[in-house]
Amino acid sequence: MQIDMRNIRKTFFGAPVLKGVDFCVHSGEIHALLGENGAGKSTLMNILYGLYKPDDGTITIDGEEVSIEDPRDALSQGIGMVHQHFQLVNTLTVSENITLGLRETGYPFSKRKLIDQRIKELSETFGLDVDPAKLIKGLSVGERQRIEIMKLLYRSAKIFILDEPTAVLSPPEVESFFNVLRELRNAGNGVVIITHKIGEVMQISDRVTVLRDGEGVLQSRLEDTNEHELSKAMIGRTLTQREHEIRSIDVTSPRLVLQDVTIHDGKLSLLQNLSISIAPGEIMGIAGVDGNGQQELAEAIIGIRKLSSGTITFNGNKVDGRSIIDRMNNGMGYIPADRHNDAILLPMNLNQNLLLKKHLDPNYLNHHFLKRKKAESTTKNLIKEFFIKTPSENTAIRYLSGGNQQKFVLARELDSDLQLLIAFQPTRGLDLGATDFIQSQLLDLANRGVSILLISTDLQEIISLSDRIAVLYKGENMGILENDDQLDIALVGAMMGGKRLENQ
């Protein structure tokens, strides 16, 4: 089976996202679709999967032109896709999710037993361990990913599109996941893996297509190219890794101390006896696969979540039990991972989004009345200082790109007497320019004496920025490592998968 996409164009809000892209994939290969965030990779694949309609261009399957109106069409052609955000129904069982929308024997009274039997068989053939009777609610991300792939296998998909599949896996899990992909390819299927990591491309793919700014810039067999060429194609220049700079930090008088912090949700333990401390000017990196307690950790420190037990001390004062505002007034800042939900008011403009933080600040108040002029001038300054691309400070923030939204969130936090910044996935989903800018800002900040808790699932980011690294696994601290010349990256990877550091 061979799929050809020719001259695909797509425009969102008048901005071209795909400018005439060609792409082809066939059975028996693993094809990497490489590009920066925002290059149009997901959009291109969502078009192939029938979620978006292209403005222009053709799709042919084995030489025959097809029109894919919705995912149902795609699935019936043998095309399946696993999205970055898993598309599973929490309140249904694994088995019900796998057959969702299918007409199995006995429909509409499908024979569950037969279905579960077949799931078991597939499960053994491809080494994908799933329990059909379990509810999705409560399953780990790794299990969810297996179910997503099982869902496509069950539908006899021939082409598997996987959007950033390794983002949710620890390094050891990535290895076994790649084996599953090879298994799939050897069984005669085509696999498209969307990624922005060149290392992954080199490791797993047979062929690679590179997208940049909505244009296909390179298509090649893997053996005909190299990392250097790929990075040049992807970002238009050679990728320079940010070199980690070893700084000497005085850790004798820590600014933030977490002692045996535990958070329970019912029987579930989200954080377990977590103890870490951060010194002034130190960047403490928290590594770990998504969903291992990072959210709870960040929210516990800033005060969004209550502790079940343990204490948090900030500048020698116990802060747990104090309000969020109180902690912020004392110098804490927070950049949440989910900025759309947790940080900004999408329909409101930049001034109002600034006021969301500042409306209780006496500098911005005149007897309960807001000082609009002052807010406007601050916003204008921040826009200039942080190179935020926006038509004006009166533009609704939803019309800004993700990178510029994130710059604004960071700028807003920095515009105060900051002593501790909790940066939770500060560069997720941003293009390289914005990522670089934000990382430099964080380093600057640390050099000025601000303590930074950098929580990121991007191990590369953690290693290039942090002074010390702690690894979270299932809400527990697997150990703290000095980030110096002796740092064993393989060990960090193993700890992300649950290996505990000795002597800690």
């Binding site: 425009t11 969102f12 809000f13 901005a15 996202v17 965030n37 925002g38 149009g40 997901s42 959009t43 800033i302 005060g303 969004i304 309000s323 969020i324 505002i325 912020m328 927070y334 949440p336 939900n341 947790d342 940080a343 900004i344 008011l345 999408l346 329909p347 409101m348 109002q352 006021l355 969301l356 933080k357 409306h359 209780l360 108040l365 309960h368 009345f369 807001l370 993700g402």
Partner: protein
């Protein structure tokens, strides 16, 4: 082509509402000419008719402002009707039992009690939403019916005027009545108060820190919470203000127009207020314009009944139709916007 599309976009909603009205009028066989002339003379025929429109506008504006404060905070208050009744009840109780007090003392007392009664009535669903996550929509609707029955009970028992056979309270003393603005009309000073309150609501919501907080909570409660805003407190406060303004509308109705408490003091003002708020985009200026429009429509409908025998429920039909068309207007006749996710 583009211009055509725009014209259609603006014309079809008006046309479809108008066609429905005409269709219903033809169906019941009235003379269209006299119906329409009755309708428009009803609204602007003379000073008295114009004053009547403003009399109707007043409670709609007040309760509409109330709903808009709730909506701005994400508190979907559909209970303005009941809050209005409770406000009317509280002011009436003050008027009847303290009727001997001087005007300048009694009226403010009635105002405060009306406001508080409405506010407290809305506070219950407000607290339920804030503290227990209970849907305020159904709760506030239930409270409408309970309030209406409660007033009905009151004017048949302990508040009943023994001198009349009908279920109503004693008439208010002079001192409990809002002064008239224009002689020989029913237009009272409550209209001016309502306009002033609209301005105050605007200043409160758009110029003060608290108002900003309320709007931020309505816009994204989670983000507001994450920067340290007490979202529950804002919901509770907005429910109090929201119900308070509806209760104030009840005060204005009994003290300015009816001068006694009886059944049906609100002709669905509380429900109309929800639509006033919606049509006015929850902004005081928009709410004022929408209240005026709906008030005019109501008076026009009444006049059409007198001149051509058309049932006033036609107004209700038209109103429902306007809102439905208003909801559908974006979808039909305008190209859909596409939103990128990247």
């Amino acid at each position: 082509m583009k211009i055509n599309r725009n014209i259609i976009h603006y014309i079809w909603p008006v046309a479809s509402v108008l066609m429905t009205a005409i269709l219903l009028l033809i169906l019941i066989g009235v003379d269209l000419g006299s119906a329409f002339s009755g309708f428009f003379r009803g609204m602007f025929g003379n000073i008295y008719q114009i004053s009547e429109v403003l009399v109707k506008t007043t409670p709609l504006l007040l309760a509409g402002l109330g709903c808009s404060i709730g909506f701005q905070c994400g508190f979907i208050n559909l209970g303005a009707e009941g809050q209005l009744y409770m406000g009317a009840l509280a002011s009436s109780v003050v008027a009847i039992f303290l009727g001997h007090l001087p005007h300048l003392l009694l009226i403010p007392l009635m105002m405060v009690c009306g406001f508080l009664a409405g506010g407290l009535w809305a506070l219950i669903p407000g607290v339920m939403k804030a503290k227990f996550g209970l849907s305020e929509v159904i709760m506030s609707l239930m409270f409408n019916y309970i309030a209406i029955q409660f007033i009905a009970l009151a004017i048949r028992t302990w508040l009943k005027d023994p001198e009349y056979p009908f279920p109503m309270s004693q008439p208010f003393t002079e001192s409990a009545q809002l002064p008239r603005l224009v002689p020989r009309t029913r237009l009272h000073i409550g209209f001016i108060i309502a306009i002033v309150l609209a301005a105050l609501v605007y200043i409160f919501l758009w110029k003060t820190a608290r108002g900003f907080q309320i709007r931020a909570c309505g816009c994204n409660p989670r983000a507001s919470f994450c920067v340290g805003v007490n979202v529950n407190l804002n919901i509770i406060l907005s429910s109090l203000l929201s119900g308070g303004l509806a209760g104030f509308a009840g005060f204005v109705e009994v003290s300015g127009v009816q001068h006694k408490l009886m059944d049906g003091i609100s002709s669905n003002y509380g429900y109309l207020a929800v639509m006033v708020s919606l049509l006015g985009s929850n902004h005081p200026l928009g709410v004022a314009i929408a209240a005026l429009l709906l008030g005019a429509l109501d008076i026009g409908g009444l006049s059409m009944q007198r001149s051509a025998g058309v049932p006033t429920s036609l107004t209700t039909v038209i109103l429902g139709m306007i809102v439905i068309v208003f909801l559908l207007r974006h979808h039909f006749g305008k190209k859909e916007k596409e939103i990128s996710h990247e």
